[in-house]
């Protein structure tokens, strides 16, 4: 049987980093419609039981504020919280470097939950793709 390292505080044995972000969900929510400088990236599907939507608000070419919403298991929710926090202060070029493997390492995501890390990479790529056509506007 696989090893379970459950404690009273974390009875399901999630990795500590995932458990904390799941409980605290920093930056959860969304920007008011029409907030300037916001790009949105979404990945996943209801059928696959995980959807992650990231919102990055750029100011002077860097991420100034972030929001996310997530539907899915605690891993997906934690991935959303981690990514947006990581995005803070970064330029689009810097953001483009994030890969699922980095997420897995940072959050200790188990093999059988690798798809949650991919979800994060996909959502961020979607947000970056949303920047591209309007890059000038964002940078202004």
């Amino acid at each position: 049987m696989e090893t379970v390292t459950a404690t009273d505080a974390n009875p399901f044995g999630y990795a500590e980093s995932i458990w904390r972000l799941f409980l605290e969900t920093p930056h959860a929510g969304e920007f008011a419609p029409g907030t300037p400088g916001v790009v949105t990236g979404e990945a996943g599907s209801k059928a696959a039981r995980s959807v992650l939507r990231l919102q990055l608000r750029f100011e002077q070419g860097r991420v100034a504020d972030v929001r996310y919403k997530a539907y899915g298991c605690p891993n997906s929710i934690a991935v959303g919280a981690w990514i947006v926090d990581w995005c803070l202060g970064k330029t689009p070029a810097e953001l483009a470097s994030l890969r699922a493997a980095d997420l897995r390492a940072a959050l200790e995501i188990a093999d059988d939950r690798a798809h949650c890390a991919l979800l994060g990479e996909d959502a961020l790529q979607a947000a970056l793709a949303a920047i591209a056509p309007s890059k000038n506007r964002v940078n202004s």
Partner: protein, 385 residues
């Protein structure tokens, strides 16, 4: 921690522990009940007393009770034993899609051995009607296996109406009564069931102990599935576990005494929980409320993901589906069989209540669930209030 998983297992009744302890002490009646010397006979007398206690709760004779290691074994023995006795090739079994895994897996195994199995689909409320069962019978039908109370949704099947209909037709009737024993009155003098499975740990007895009722008149015949020294009239070999058996006997005796009062109290708490949860919009009760066992309430929550829902309630020991299937993280096959889609089947909680459950716990549990469902819905990019 609020424990609302009594359908998965119960704590031992402290009085049951007191009955077990003498058989666990070095100067107690620890001998092998099969030994033909003084200490052996003493252990055997304990075994026989407990047999009578288990029989009493079921309205059975002591000689109709065969000890097993739990209801998983009882169900395996009943179904495989009956089929082996009657010949497996082309034999036909009727059961339902919402049976416990150990019935379904046993049936699947028998299919690989040449048996044919009809898995009836219950209605939306979880009920399989006696008429549905009768229609499924063929001249080759050897056995019908149907559970009395479903362990996930608490629906009470109409086994009392079905039993005489099967008796008339000469078809063996096996009932998994694990969740019914001690919860609903069972009287096998009145209800012509041939084989009936029970487990100790669901009614405040020890885990790893069960029994199979095997009717004597008319005699239900089984091929043994555990071969050996010929214990239990040759139907189930293996050293009898005196302390476990004594504990099961005591638990059944207590259940007989408390049956009426427990059932009244638990169904009251169950109704209160359901009423409180309805503060949440878009939730669904699973299983026909008109045929609900006292101790189980199963609810699906729209708009939340199941694993997150359970993780968001770490101070609540509840389960989704049965303890057995929850390890697989798959949406409950029972709820799927009732027609719930994958998402709703997954986003469900089974609350199961027991003797230790208090009104205060019910209130707190409802409050926590409401709060966390609201939070997860708010977190979801898909939720539209």
């Amino acid at each position: 921690m609020i424990y609302l998983d009594y359908a998965a297992t119960t704590p031992l009744d402290p009085a049951v522990l007191q009955v077990m302890l003498p058989y666990l002490s070095a100067d107690g009646a620890f001998a092998n009940p099969a030994s033909t010397h003084g200490p052996g006979y003493k252990a055997r007398a304990t075994v026989e007393k407990a047999r009578a206690q288990v029989a009493a709760l079921l309205g059975a004779e002591a000689a109709e009770i065969v000890w097993t290691s739990g209801a998983t074994e009882s169900n395996n023995l009943a179904i495989k034993g009956a089929l082996e006795f009657h010949g497996r090739r082309n034999a036909h079994i009727v059961t339902s899609r919402t049976e416990h895994k150990c019935v379904l897996d046993t049936c699947r195994h028998l299919e690989t051995q040449g048996a044919r199995v009809t898995y009836l689909k219950p209605g939306a409320g979880g009920l399989v009607s006696p008429e549905q069962v009768l229609e499924a019978l063929t001249p080759d039908t050897v056995l019908v296996s149907l559970m009395w109370v479903n362990n996930e949704i608490g629906v009470v099947q109409e086994v009392q109406r079905l039993a005489p209909l099967l008796r008339e037709r000469g078809v063996l009737f096996h009932v998994d009564a694990v969740q019914a024993a001690g919860k609903l009155p069972i009287d096998l003098r009145e209800t012509p069931i041939d084989l009936l499975s029970v487990s100790a740990h669901k009614i405040y007895g020890p885990k790893g102990m069960g029994a199979l009722y095997v009717r004597k008149k008319p005699r239900a015949r089984l091929a043994p599935q555990m071969h050996g020294g010929g214990h239990e009239w040759g139907m189930r070999s293996g050293t009898l576990s005196t302390h476990q058996i004594a504990g099961m006997g005591a638990a059944f005796a207590i259940a007989a005494e408390r049956l009426a009062s427990d059932a009244g109290r638990l169904s009251g708490l169950r109704d209160r929980l359901w009423q409180r949860l309805q503060a949440l919009p878009r939730i669904l009760r699973n299983g026909d409320p008109g045929r609900a066992a006292p101790h189980i309430l199963n609810v699906s929550f729209e708009g939340v993901e199941g694993e997150a829902l359970r993780a968001a309630l770490p101070e609540l020991a509840v389960s989704s589906g049965s303890a057995c299937s929850s390890a697989t993280q798959e949406p409950s096959y029972v709820l799927r069989a009732l027609g719930r889609d994958d998402e709703l089947a997954n986003a469900s909680l089974r609350f199961s209540l027991g003797r230790g459950t208090t009104e205060a716990e019910i209130e707190q549990a409802a409050e926590k669930v409401i709060k966390q469902v609201e939070w997860l819905r708010e977190l979801s990019p898909l939720w539209k209030p």
